[in-house]
């Protein structure tokens, strides 16, 4: 190809590309699925799907890990397993007790081991007791964000919200099978 033919060809090519780009909004719009960046569902507790007794909400950083009902000595109980962030063990226990206290729960003076706290509301039935176990995670350091776990033994809760995400186990952490 001669030099001139090449230049003309290149210019023509650029013109075509430019024309396509300028007209591209008429061809419609591409619709990406976003599958590789799923929407993060809200926290099930924050949504109020299966609320804590007394409408308690936690005032500290936590992640819900597992929630579900089990049978203990013939009695059905709800076990909620979560992790606490950026606090040490004592602070976490105090925070949990404080949040329950705001809803009228009273902590027992000497909680029976292995529980770190046993909470009751005056006038509640025996089955409405709340028990907590707080454990630091082994091998974490002072600047680790996630510091430990807490497990709450609660009365069984019913679905209390019709938010669509309450059906999503990744929000409520109520997984069907053993995990």
């Amino acid at each position: 190809m001669t030099g001139r033919a090449r230049r003309v060809g290149t210019l023509a090519g650029i013109a075509v590309v430019l024309a396509v780009l300028l007209l591209s909004h008429r061809f419609g719009r591409a619709d990406p699925t976003g599958d590789y960046r799923p929407v993060l569902v809200p926290d099930g507790l924050a949504l109020g799907c299966y609320p804590l007794p007394g409408g308690v909400t936690f005032d500290f950083g936590y992640q819900l890990r597992r929630d579900g009902d089990v049978e203990v000595d013939g009695e059905k109980r709800r076990v909620l397993f979560a992790q606490y962030d950026e606090m040490d063990e004592d602070e976490a226990l105090a925070a949990i007790v404080d949040d329950f206290a705001e809803a009228g729960f009273v902590a027992s003076e000497r909680p029976a081991p292995p529980y770190d706290a046993v909470l009751r509301r005056p006038g509640d039935a025996r089955a409405d007791v709340v028990r907590a176990v707080v454990e630091p995670l082994p091998g974490v350091e002072d600047d680790t964000i996630v510091r430990g776990t807490f497990e709450l033994d609660l009365p069984v809760a019913e679905l209390a919200s019709d938010a669509p995400d309450c059906d999503d186990p990744s929000s409520t952490k109520r997984w069907d099978e053993d995990s």
Binding site: V20, L21, L22, S24, H25, F27, G28, R29, A30, D31, P32, T33, G34, D35, Y36, R37, P38, L40, D43, G61, Y62, Q63, R65, Q83, D85, E86, L137, G139, V140, T144, I145, V146, T149, P169, S170, K173, W175, E177, S179
Partner: protein, 499 residues
């Protein structure tokens, strides 16, 4: 071994001139593409391909909006191009023109476009390699991996691995050419430095795990410039290197900045290293400071957890992932690490045809498709295994028949060693070898040629070298031996660790 070299010599003696051979091989490649296209035609995007497709769609909308003078949808761009910062958008950029013109392109069209784009890049690469390394090497490069059926199948996919290998071999050819000029005391021209920078950033965008091999090749070129050139030319070479570096960084910056902004932390290339280390070598039951959610896939489980922690504490999810990784790896024992590394090595090298199963229509293949898949599988192994074996042998021996051979041997060994770091840090997929594929055949062919030369001459006649060339040749030999030594040593040490 003797039989193999003799056979190759006899076959080579009967072959037409390299240029003619090259055209035949390219023709065969195109034929293979046409035959294999139907196997991939109806295959929807598989796993990571989904993100490349979506990234391309979002980028096409960006172009659409820019040229319609409206503001782009930055939320869509963040979600689909950056996403979780797992992949650099090289292949998304490559696919963007398709979605600009046909926003709702269906699977067959996407596959055809990918196949065509891949072919064009291959042709450009062949021309580049032929110009700098000769038609012989160009022909070899088409024979493997471009005639490997599973590679041809992968040329219809949106994974960046095969193309990153193609561009990488062009980069290596450019470096060889640059060193050739430096040996003649000619510093690299500005245009060449620019090309080197562009090639390197293209390789990185196509496959971010190449950052190690690019850094290594960059260092090698720099050291070569310092050693081979003197005085004013050395300064010119260093400034040319600076130019290449500036171009590289300037083109990397848009991605790094966008990803860093979207993920609220410093991202240079990708964010996968901590979680991939944790998932590969760590205790999977500890990755989420305990067990992760049981429902989603291996890579999405820790991601969701990291995002939940990030949401609650205000930290960046990438920082959370780093801590998760440290936690899951804290009890790692040497033996476990070594065994998992061997498993990765196996996945990296020994299942080249795996993707034939995955790139299939949703409802599975019909009887013809199954037969086609089987044929692809068998032919792939037939061609792949000898090249792999020869490449591994070539890593253990050195090539001394000429200075050019020494230079190419050194570069190939250095690049392959850098690429072979992958199984040590990441679960290896069966497509990762394609980044190293073209280098396999260069190593293998060099080894065969060296064996032939040594066998046919009692005292190998080498070219006469003067001055810089002679010194270079002298210095390269211990380097080559060291590289072979490192390769052998790592294998032995890893083997012992695993027992």
């Amino acid at each position: 071994m003797t039989a193999a070299t003799d056979l190759v010599t006899r076959v080579a003696a009967r072959m037409p001139r390299p240029d003619v051979l090259l055209l035949w091989l390219l023709g065969a490649h195109v034929m293979l593409k046409l035959l294999i296209y139907p196997l991939t035609m109806d295959a929807p995007a598989y796993n990571d391909e989904q993100q490349y497709y979506d990234g391309a769609r979002a980028l096409s909308n960006l172009l659409r909006d820019t040229f319609a003078f409206t503001s782009p949808d930055s939320a869509e761009l963040e979600r689909n191009v950056v996403a979780s910062g797992w992949f650099m958008p090289g292949m998304a950029i490559l696919m963007t023109p398709l979605f600009v013109v046909i926003p709702d392109a269906a699977d067959p069209l996407c596959r055809a476009y990918l196949g065509l784009a891949n072919l064009l890049v291959l042709l450009w690469a062949v021309r580049s390699v032929r110009q700098r390394l000769g038609s012989g090497y160009a022909a070899l490069f088409v024979a493997f991996p471009a005639l490997l059926p599973s590679w041809v199948l992968m040329s219809f996919t949106a994974y960046g691995d095969p193309l990153s290998g193609v561009v990488l071999i062009v980069l290596v050819a450019h470096v060889v050419d640059m060193i050739r000029k430096m040996r003649a005391s000619e510093p690299p021209a500005w245009k060449e430095a620019l090309q080197l920078g562009l090639l390197a950033i293209a390789v990185l965008y196509l496959r971010s795990s190449t950052s190690i091999v690019l850094a290594v090749l960059g260092c090698v070129t720099l050291v070569a410039a310092l050693v081979l050139l003197k005085g004013a030319q050395r300064w010119r070479a260093l400034t040319a290197a600076g130019l290449a570096g500036v171009v590289f960084v300037m083109l990397l910056a848009p991605w790094s900045i966008a990803a860093s902004k979207a993920l609220d932390t410093r991202v240079v290339t990708t964010t996968t290293v901590p979680i991939s280390l944790a998932n590969t070598f760590g205790d999977r039951e500890q990755v989420c400071f305990g067990k992760c959610d049981p429902d989603s896939y291996l890579w999405f489980r820790p991601l969701r957890y990291a995002r939940e922690v990030a949401r609650v504490t205000g930290e960046s999810e990438v920082e959370v992932e780093k801590q998760m990784s440290d936690y899951a790896l804290r009890d790692l024992e040497r033996q476990e690490y070594a065994r998992q590394a061997w498993w990765n090595i196996g996945s990296y090298f020994f299942i080249p045809a795996n993707f034939t199963r995955y790139i299939a229509p949703e409802e599975g293949r019909g009887p013809v498709g199954q037969v086609g898949q089987g044929i692809v599988w068998v032919l792939t192994y037939l061609l792949y295994v000898p090249v792999l074996v020869l490449m591994l042998l070539s890593m253990l021996f050195v090539q001394l028949r000429s200075l050019e051979a020494q230079i190419l041997d050194t570069l190939t060994k250095v690049a392959l060693l850098a690429l072979f770091v992958q199984p040590f840090v990441h679960i290896a997929g069966s497509r990762y070898w394609t980044t190293a594929g073209p280098l396999f055949v260069v190593a293998a062919a060099g080894f065969l040629r060296e064996s032939h030369v040594r066998r046919s001459h009692a005292h190998p006649v080498r070219e006469r070298l003067d001055g810089t060339d002679a010194r270079l040749s002298q210095w390269l030999k211990p380097i080559q031996l060291t590289l072979s030594g490192v390769f052998g040593l790592v294998i032995v040490v890893l083997g012992l660790m695993a027992i």
